[in-house]
Symmetry: D2
Subunit: 314 residues, 4 copies
């Protein structure tokens, strides 16, 4: 995540300027504005701009002439009510913009979230940086044997060492070929006067998806919470989860009442199926219920028992 | 557009508070922040919040660490280039939020623009205001005879007087029935202790679509320019155009370089069909061209000649 | 919902034609294709076209060269897995198109669902029909006293009769004024040679929101299920729920495996908050829990106890 | 684009089945349904399903009970009118679904079009194919010197040979490392019993963006035309243009009247800026105009003169 001295200076310049505004302002978020928050080995998240705060949600829900309500407790109650009852539109009235540096394979998962605005660094127009992601040893997971989409235990010893070595070697080789085909180095020097250089938009096709790209990404709060509910979840790939967790910390600074409600009703909640709810009702009525008599598949039974803090056997 | 004293006071309170921010700030837009800008007989547009400015477009297009470029001329050039070549995503990086009071039939046209966020005042939950739109005499247009969707000349004399009288009488009658069915007045007084009162969500169905509603509406700059290109256009119904024109004035305050480019490349530009472009080429080559030899329909021929400032006859 | 003889004939002509196709086809849905399914007093829902079926969801989820899997049981299992785990994109691969006749106030709720395609009958261009909604006596609900957004008991006796009378009288009056201002009748006859007639786009503003409009509405299956989860829900206003229920019947014909999974995991499921889940765990551990010791508000406590089939007192 | 025999057989099975339907059907599109249309060296486009036809656009625009109009000429006129005047919603009433095999770097440009539905082959879940894109020699373009985003002349001789060799070698090396890290071959054989194998979601990060991926992609006709206007355009990168051109051929089969109107009003039309239109008017009035007196930048002047078929000098 090493910024160049010029980039550092640009960030510092932005951070040093303050303006006067009549708009809603959030001091805790202003604190980290423009600063790169590190993610993975070379990535970052920078909050660039934001619109609104907790009170702006209340203001929109009430279609009011002034700010939210007078008292924080009332705002909190309304925000919790709105989130609990899926009244999502007031949360769309807050907006946040990030500058993010992330591996291409993470960007490819991220971009599936369509209700957002994106400007990505262009490999057609500019030379890509020589920066690629290599997992930290503790994240070098084996393929899960029970779950085709999951990670198993961490690779160790010679196998781990070989994987790390391979990733580094192939990425270095790919970038070296990239420069050679471009006939140009990362910092713009011409390599060989007698060669034309392949078009940038073609040469970049040699780079693997662990290379870093960058984008500006802007999203409203409702869609951001949806993104977080999927990408900060334990089913998400670790690498995108690392970004989601940093972004969530920014959300906590920005809209603390909404973040609290999100944890209570979405992230920390429990969704029961029709059959699962029936199992709970029967258990509460002190009926004996087993997987066989539950109308649940073995897998769903196990998930439910785990969620309820009960032994999975019966 | 008469605000109640309480509403006035809420607006004034918001306008009187200033905060310190590191975010991009636009003084010309701050000037009018929160103030109701009158539209039609009882409507208004209030700018509630905004994110970004002209430089933010450049910043996003460059995926940069700092602000836009150093010089306004460079920003201007890039903004014009982006708009001319339909590179629309950087314009999505600016966002604006309005509080708008508008007749229901205008709201029904407006809501077709789906890429925006909306919170509308709820007639299920609250009692609707006794405010309805009646056109000013100069906007009381007759049905066009040549264009099924258009307005013709202005009604005059007895017919105009009768129309105005009818609109007022029917709206007053509708609202009076509304109150009677609710068993409640606009300001919450119970009318008759012996009646239950019809549910608000049902009683409101008696109100015509010239009654005013209100909403918070938030949109990014790209989609706002698209909205304006359709709704500030001469084909749009006068009533929604009146709103679009006020909003455009706010856009000029907010992002003057973008507004200038918008006028040059979108609002003020000319789109020629393949056949129309061929006519222009032939005319420039001093060829004789008439509608018959133009491959254009009479209507398209007439539109093209008008746009080119030529007699429509040949 | 009386179609004119010409409209009936058009529907019959469409229903009588069959074509040969290589596309996925659903016999149960073809049965009702184009037929108006009545809703409320004058409304209808017509299925006009559809794309895909249950197997198409599987096909897309597998990005396969052929159809879904070979066996219905496998398709069913995958569809349930996808819906349970919020893998929503395969459900977007099915699409359905409706022609719907509905009161304007219902259309105004409906249009909030932005991820859909709409073409509405234009009151700028055409004369509106003389058809308006009047609730059946059993749906003439009083305003709830406990819930500002809800309906209470049904109005009876003189108050009910007066409401029905008022709604009919005001609607008839509004339409009569509409014709008079247009200087034209519903079926296109000129009323008075000496008057010009007000522009259609203006005259329609006199019509209340219980008048019927029509639109073509097209939506993918994922967004349709989301629409149904909100609008077929008991919190939705009765009038839009009546449409949602008819549409759900079409969904059952179209994608029966998806409909079953939707009932089990979405419509019939139960969402517990973090605190609610904790209450369930404590109850299952045979702990005493009351509202006071539950970390739930009285309202949330009551809702939870009701959902669990327990007395709300403790 | 070599399909395996099993894939071939699945395609043939789908093509051999026909069903009876009441829906609108397009024979010319049915002809190619399911068949892979080759693009680039290993890619393809397969039309999987469609909804609607030219008449369905008319039907929706008229909100009609039957099909479009009775006569093709009338349908054609209305479709041209709608497209000319940016009445885009009726075109959203047609939908088409494709199965596409494409290089990852093309997929990354494509996915920017957000108003579409996508299911992509998952490298988290499945092993990626050993297939990567290498440009044909005639598309091995040098970097343009005048335009940072463009291609210049074609590379030749030793430089071209080296580039092709490099792309092949690095891709082969990347895939070989991928298999080794996975400890599994493309067809599922275990490589070494003593190794665990890296998680698929991690191993794939070693693959460059010229490897092929696949997806199901579904889009409405309006948004598809917008996609084509940008991606079949000469400014688009050749590789995505190759896909856009094949898709456009499918569009011509599907909705020939719309395709014709699209060519006349969008693809083949000419957009003049305010200043450009003024230049045309002055030229038609036989005024002398040069770049200096035109209010156009040198670049815009040159583009305009070229579009008008005039010498760029004056």
């Amino acid at each position: 995540m090493a910024l160049t001295p010029e980039q550092q200076e640009e960030v510092e310049r932005l951070r040093s300027q303050t303006h006067s505004t009549r708009r809603a302002t959030v001091a805790a978020l202003e604190e980290i504005l423009y600063s790169p928050l590190p993610v993975l080995d070379h990535g970052f998240v920078r909050v660039i701009d934001y619109m609104g705060d907790d009170a702006a949600i209340v203001q929109a829900a009430r279609v009011s002439y002034g700010r939210g309500t007078k008292r924080v407790q009332e705002d909190r109650g309304l925000i919790r009510y709105l989130l609990r009852h899926s009244h999502t539109t007031p949360f769309e009235m807050c907006e946040i913009k990030f500058h993010i540096k992330l591996p291409i394979f993470v960007a490819r998962q991220w971009i599936r979230h369509r209700t957002a605005n994106v400007n990505e660094y262009s490999g057609r127009y500019s030379v890509m940086d020589r920066e690629f992601y290599v997992p930290a040893p503790e994240h070098l997971a084996a393929q899960s044997r029970s779950n085709r989409q999951g990670r198993g235990s961490v690779l160790e010893g010679a196998e781990a060492a070989e994987v790390l070595e391979t990733l580094k070697r192939d990425a270095a080789q790919a970038y070296s070929s990239y420069e050679r085909m471009l006939n140009e180095t990362e910092d713009g020097r011409l390599l060989d006067e007698d060669r034309q250089g392949l078009a940038r938009e073609l040469a970049r096709m040699n780079l693997p998806v662990n290379f870093y790209t960058q984008w500006y990404w802007k999203c409203d709060l409702h869609n951001l919470l949806h993104f977080l509910s999927l990408r900060a979840d334990s089913h998400a790939q670790y690498e995108i989860r690392a970004y989601a967790e940093i972004i969530y910390q920014a959300v906590q600074r920005w809209v603390p009442l909404t973040a609290e409600a999100y944890e209570d009703y979405i992230a920390g909640g429990l969704r029961l199926s029709r059959q699962g709810a029936e199992v709970v009702r029967r258990l509460l009525a002190e009926e004996e219920v087993s997987q066989e008599t539950s109308n649940l598949s073995p897998r769903e039974w196990k998930e439910l028992m785990t969620a309820l803090g009960r032994p999975t056997g019966s």
